[in-house]
Amino acid sequence: MSRKKPSSPCSRSPTEGGALGLYVHIPFCASKCAYCDFASVPLDDAGGMSAARRYLEALFIEIDRRAVSAEFHGAPARTVYLGGGTPTILPRDWIAELLTRLRHRFPFEADAEISIEANPGTVDEETVATLLAAGINRFSLGVQSFSDDVLHTLGRVHSASEAREAISAARTARCTNLNLDLMFGIPEQSMEEWQDTLAQAADAQPEHVSLYALSVEPGTPLACGISAGDLPPPDDDLAAGMYETAHDMLTHAGFEHYEISNFAREGSQCRHNRIYWADEEYLGLGASSHSFRNGVRWNNCADAEVYTEWIGRGRLPVARAETLSASERVGEMLILGLRRAEGVTSAEIAARCGSSPEELFGEEIAQLRQEGMLLAEDGALRVPREKWLVSNEVLLRFVG
């Protein structure tokens, strides 16, 4: 293994070494979207399918090797998240096989949340039913928009009507925990279009909604289109307005805005993502996945073929690992915890890191409170709701 055990850089908390969030990356899609800079591979022919199978076999090996290693041996899974890419592009029996493998190696807690990302056009009622039977209990649909024009700009392969069909298929198959992903701040997207998308999303009555502001990543077709002048660059003011509109419409529809980009009905917050924001431990499996255990963060190599090859040669696919110092760890807990509506408590941080935020960032905290960017109430630090969209200004103070 290419990394060392941490030499206890910060005191180890009681929560460490316990239950895990498991993330499994499936880097395959029907085709690449215009804005995507993720590690995903278009899966459009038989050659692609056999590469996907080789990848799955490599994944099984990583699962086995991690499960028998000292730091993960016997660790139960509190949540499982199959992300991508588009995991549902794989044959259903492969997904069932993967879940069986995971459950065998990392015993799932009785109420474990088991999510899968799915794109409209890749799921029908039968698929949903099969996956539910295989153990999946939460579906996250990459709807993005209910406007065909916007979907076209994004280079998505599905249509708005396919999105509606996927939602009703999930419901008919009795999926009881459904998330819709929506995007805003897209070139040429109008406020009216966004309001319509939000209204349709609310009408569909999902348990959860995630909102992403489009970020234009260099090198993507979208970025090229913008620099060539074919598309206008995203308008930050309009995007800010869209965000506020979403807050108003979704809270009015009964959702709680519990994290900068996430809304949920009571009892339906995403438990897997809460693990990240609480800086708890997770194991990422597959290409480009990230892990955090015993104070060490690491990530696997991004490329699926490289991943498969490294595993095939008997090495772990770790591309980089870092052991966080106590102050980096405090900084990260703030960066993550302040994304949540409830913020983060000093006690929580001190217990995990051995130092409290006040000890390390006392001056910054006082300054931010004075600027009205940070609130300290009942032992918790939090960013007031109306400042969430400019919270980078707060988070900046807690790095390097």
Binding site: S210, D237, S289, V390, V399
Partner: protein
């Protein structure tokens, strides 16, 4: 009787307008005289700085000694001195010329006689130099040597018949050039037995040996062990080594009248052996120093500040080191309310300034803020005093100011006749006064204007090039100070004046200039958590304003497991970027904002 060394010596420069192929011709001459082996040969040997090679321009003059067997069977010693071709470095040309008896005048067969061709010819003729015109680049398909010859006659007054046709790139005609140098340029005069007179025409600093002074011996002899005296500064040194320029330095036993070479004499600072100084023998001094020549006068001044105030000592050390090799640079510490402690530096022109900035950043790894360049104004105060103002922030207050003067130049523009209109429009637009216009038998027109120097150092040259599709060329000389109706334009950020952004401008242009300034400034600032107001003011009167709305969104919406490290790195980068900016009040101002005043047209 065999010819003496002095009779077999030829000292000459190569002068040309920029890009006419001077350095390429020098390279071919080096190859043909075997001064450089094939192995050492790389493009443009004499351009030693990386920057010179990258930009394709010669900045510093440099010299080399060659041996050439001429058709008469004699072996000649040729001292070749390469010179810069850009108008900023005219003084470098003038000091090189003082070491020579002749000059090869390179003219591009495609573009013909240009403004610096003429300027350099004037310098050479003033020094009494013999000219060898060479029409270069005859290999190019659109070459027109006949037209170049015609321009040589019309504009410069040299018979076109005298010109040698060459293609330095292919090596054609280079042998003929060398023959002509030997035949037409006279051997150096001077008496080896007379008292020593040697002119310093350049120098460089060697960290181990001190100043290496480049000299031309006019009379007498210079040898190791001699006590020498700098005739103007009256300082004495003992000569440790003399030598000639090969690809490196090659020690010789002595340099005598007519020789070009170097002297090392334990000289520590460039100021102790300035260019133009005459060296004599302390034991039997010459009666008179040699006539000095046009000293370098800085024309353009700007403030140079470290982005981090703690880097000030590093900046000082870098300036001291670069100053050792750059006789034209001046620098003095100054303080700005906005920028902290830095230096006010004087340069020959904008190119000199840019090159210097690049060297500071590249060779010394410094993050710098440069203020907009300014000329030196003369402020006449009500109490009858005259103050030289090289920094707009230091202009006396309106209550004490009687009037202002600014430096003017005579600008010579050479252009194909089709572009006469645009050239004149540009000059009028920049407060120019028309002087004259001359036509040649070819299509070339020479236009002369007087213009304020301040208008030239802005974007005049870029504008001239863009309005004439690159065909016009420019040369200028400073002709003195004249009174102008000038005013100081201040820039306020959220109500606070920023001294480093002040500019002096003609009153009739203030309104327009102020508008452009705040508009451009607006484009360089990022939105911040609060509203930013930008204003331009003449005294207490606001003449232009812009506002920047507060930032509404800066968060990257999603952040999950995989993104934590990336997110932290991103924040760290943003924070580092912020650190590189200057805080004025509570507004983060990036480096480039201080140069926004440079560009006056969009």
């Amino acid at each position: 009787m065999p010819l003496s060394i002095q009779q077999r010596t030829r000292n000459f420069c190569i002068i040309a307008h920029i890009d006419h192929g001077k350095s390429t011709l020098a390279d071919r001459i080096l190859e043909m005289t075997h001064a450089v082996g094939e192995r050492e040969m790389r493009e443009q040997v004499l351009d030693q700085m990386d920057l010179e090679r990258e930009r394709g321009i010669t900045i510093k003059a440099s010299a080399i000694r060659l041996t050439y067997r001429a058709r008469d069977g004699e072996e000649y010693l040729l001292n070749l001195i390469d010179t810069p071709g850009h108008v900023d470095f005219t003084y470098e040309v003038s000091r090189s010329l003082a070491a020579a008896e002749g000059a090869i005048l390179v003219i591009d067969a495609v573009s013909g006689v240009e403004a610096q061709t003429v300027a350099n010819v004037h310098l050479a003729v003033d020094q009494g130099l013999e000219l060898v015109p060479v029409i270069n680049k005859t290999d190019l398909p659109n070459a027109s040597p006949e037209r170049a010859k015609q321009e040589l006659e019309d504009i410069i007054g040299i018979s076109g018949e005298e010109a040698v046709l060459a293609s330095a790139k292919l090596g054609d005609g280079v042998d003929e050039v060398l023959e002509t140098v030997v035949q037409r340029i006279p051997p150096p005069g001077g008496d080896p037995s007379a008292p020593l007179q040697a002119l310093i025409f350049d120098s460089h600093f060697d960290p181990h040996r001190g100043i290496v002074a480049y000299v031309r011996v006019r009379n007498g002899r210079l040898a190791p062990g001699m006590q020498i005296e700098m005739m103007a500064a009256r300082r004495r040194f003992e000569v440790q080594e003399v030598g000639v320029f090969t690809l490196g330095l090659q020690p010789v036993e002595e340099l005598s009248a007519g020789a070009v070479g170097y002297v090392i004499a334990g000289i520590k600072e460039i100021g102790q052996a300035p260019v133009g100084e005459t060296i004599t023998d302390a034991a039997s001094p010459a009666a008179e120093p040699l006539p000095g020549y046009r000293p370098a006068t800085p024309m353009v001044f700007c403030g140079i500040y470290p982005t981090e105030n703690t880097d000030f000592p590093l900046l000082r050390a870098a300036l001291e080191k670069l100053g050792l090799n750059d006789a034209a640079l001046t620098y003095e510490p100054e303080t700005s309310a906005a920028l902290g402690t830095g230096f006010r530096c004087g340069f020959l022109g904008l190119l000199h300034m840019e090159i210097f900035q690049e060297r500071l950043e590249r060779e010394y790894d410094l993050d710098l803020v440069l203020t907009a360049p300014s000329v030196v104004y003369r402020a006449h105060t009500t109490d009858g005093e005259v103050a030289e103002v090289d920094n707009p922030a230091k202009l006396p207050g309106a209550d004490r100011l009687e009037h202002l003067e600014e430096p003017f130049v005579r600008a010579t523009i050479m252009t194909p006749s089709a572009y006469v209109g645009p050239c004149m429009e540009l000059c009028q637009d920049r407060r120019g006064d028309y002087e004259s216009m001359e036509h040649s038998h070819t299509d070339r027109v020479v236009i002369t204007y007087t213009l304020p120097l301040a208008e030239i150092i802005l974007d005049f040259f870029d504008q001239l090039k863009s309005r004439t599709r690159g065909y016009a060329s420019l040369d200028y000389e400073v002709i003195g100070y004249r009174q102008s109706d000038l005013a100081k334009l201040d820039v306020l950020i959220n109500g606070d004046p920023v001294d480093a952004l002040s500019v002096i401008t003609h009153r009739s242009r203030a309104q327009q200039r102020g508008k452009h300034l705040v508009k451009r400034l607006r484009a360089t600032l990022s939105r911040q958590m609060f509203e930013i107001r930008l204003q331009a003011a003449l005294g207490s009167r606001i003449i232009a304003a812009e506002r920047i709305a507060p930032l509404r969104k800066n968060v990257t919406a999603k952040c999950y497991g995989g993104d934590v490290t990336r997110k932290r790195k991103l924040l760290e980068r943003q924070k580092a970027g912020k650190k590189r900016m200057r805080q004025i009040g509570n507004v983060d101002v990036p480096q480039e904002a201080f140069l926004t005043v440079l560009k006056i047209a969009d």
